[in-house]
């Protein structure tokens, strides 16, 4: 179970959010909403442990994440940048990422063809389209066994077929008892009954006093 306790964050004397708390149970998804600049990405980075909030903390199974040794094992984070090196081929990129995260690299080729990159395995990623590069990064959703996924705008640059594939994968992940935290402008791809929503309003100066 992931819990956020009274998170606050200010950026350059602007309060992005304050006192945000929520908890996420296995089998549930959390959809972060808010206009541009409301702090969605900052929130995801705090939840992943990449950034620190001004106040509050994030707990994984009751333990603060910085002191929870198995948190990184349980986490799959896909950020704004795809973590795809343009000089390396899709296979080489995924081999490295799998090694970093203890994922099984044996099925990389199968999964690359499943996400529609068959025939592109050995081409430097820089020569592929933005959508294809996204698919390389998203292949990790099939390779990883992490229960908690934190995804920042996973649908960017994807075509309709890829979005449909992702929707099925999300559904399956939640049915398997996984957790999902996501920002997206297409909330329809999440199963309605298992989705919580969190609206970040992007408080302004006056709102705090």
């Amino acid at each position: 179970m992931l819990e956020a306790r009274r998170l606050s964050l200010a950026r350059q004397s602007r309060q992005l959010f304050s006192d945000v708390s929520f908890s996420l149970e296995p089998g549930h998804a959390l959809l972060l909403q808010g206009r541009n600049g409301a702090g969605k990405t900052s929130m995801l980075r705090i939840l992943a442990g990449l950034a620190r909030p001004d106040e509050g903390n994030v707990c994984w199974h009751g333990k603060v994440i910085s002191q929870s040794p198995d948190y990184l094992e349980s986490l799959l984070y896909l950020g704004h940048h795809a973590a795809v090196n343009t000089e390396l081929s899709p296979t080489e990129n995924l081999r490295y990422l799998c090694a970093l995260h203890n994922d099984d690299s044996a099925s990389i080729d199968d999964i690359l063809s499943a996400v529609g990159l068959a025939g592109y395995e050995d081409i430097p990623a820089g020569q592929l389209s933005a959508g294809q590069q996204r698919r390389i990064a998203l292949s990790r959703l099939w390779l990883s066994s992490a229960p908690l996924w934190i995804l920042d705008e996973p649908l960017t640059a994807l075509d309709v077929r890829a979005v449909a594939g992702l929707e099925r994968r999300f559904k399956q992940h939640l049915e398997d008892g996984g957790m999902l935290i996501v920002t997206t402008h297409q909330p329809a791809i999440l199963p309605e009954h298992a989705t919580q929503r969190l609206e970040l309003s992007g408080l302004d100066l006056e709102a705090e006093t």
Binding site: Q12, S13, Q15, E208
Partner: protein, 246 residues
């Protein structure tokens, strides 16, 4: 540990507390520096070897000593900021840095001015002057790194790490420069190693060292307070302070 810091971890308390310290540091340092300098320049006997030119010691030695102590203080603040994640400690690092850099510059400047009558040239690659020059570069690195970051808080954290890496290297650099100096120049005449100072010469020096230290503290606190107001500009207590409601 460092529980006592926590009440002051609130910016507002820190602002008010540092205001009280600033008052005392500023006045004591200011008055002390005037007494020490006037005494040193006007009322001590002239050195039998160097005549009146030695009197610059009353500026050179305090600035040189405090430039080193300033760096050490900066590293200690950086350590506290890193280990106990005290944001205000990181802010202190960056409050000290420019003040320390100015002291280092003054030490170099007074050293050069002193060098002219003593060595006949403004600059020699004396071990201490060289160390001081490198110290200036280390200070400038910390300052430059801080201002290179767009996010001031990340900048302060990065500067803190650099200060800690630097402080480990300061003694290594110093001793390697001393060794290098002895290797290349043989025994140089160092005016800095006073055989024995007369007490009448020593008192004003001690007063000046303490006063310059207080002034360094005062400038640091001023910068820290400014920084607090800037960073917390959106908070109600800052508005109160700025409207004069203490």
């Amino acid at each position: 540990m460092f529980k006592w810091l926590h009440p002051y971890a609130k910016s507002e308390n820190l602002y008010r507390l540092s205001g009280k310290f600033l008052f005392w540091f500023g006045w004591l340092g200011f008055v002390g520096a005037i007494i020490g300098t006037v005494w040193g320049l006007g009322f001590t006997p002239a050195d039998y070897q160097q005549g009146d030119s030695f009197r610059i010691i009353y500026l050179h030695v305090p600035t040189a000593m405090l430039s080193m102590s300033g760096y050490l203080g900066m590293a200690i603040a950086a350590f506290i900021g890193t280990v106990w994640q005290q944001r205000h400690a990181d802010m202190t690092v960056i409050a000290i840095a420019p003040v320390g850099a100015v002291y280092t510059f003054l030490a170099l400047f007074t050293g050069a001015v002193w060098g002219k009558p003593t060595w006949g040239t403004y600059w020699v690659w004396d071990a201490r002057l060289t160390s001081e020059l490198i110290l200036l570069f280390l200070y400038l690195g910390v300052i430059a790194l801080y201002y290179a970051y767009e996010d001031r808080r990340s900048g302060a954290r990065a500067a803190a790490i650099l200060a800690m890496v630097g402080v480990i290297n300061v003694p290594i650099i110093h001793y390697s420069v001393v060794w290098w100096n002895s290797l290349h120049q043989g025994a140089t005449i160092t005016v800095f190693e006073k055989p024995k100072m007369d007490t009448s010469m020593l008192w004003p020096l001690l007063i000046n060292i303490v006063s310059f230290g207080l002034i360094l503290g005062a400038f640091t606190l001023m910068r820290l307070r400014n920084d607090l107001l800037m960073k917390e500009g959106h908070r109600p207590w800052v508005k109160q302070v700025l409207e004069g409601k203490h």
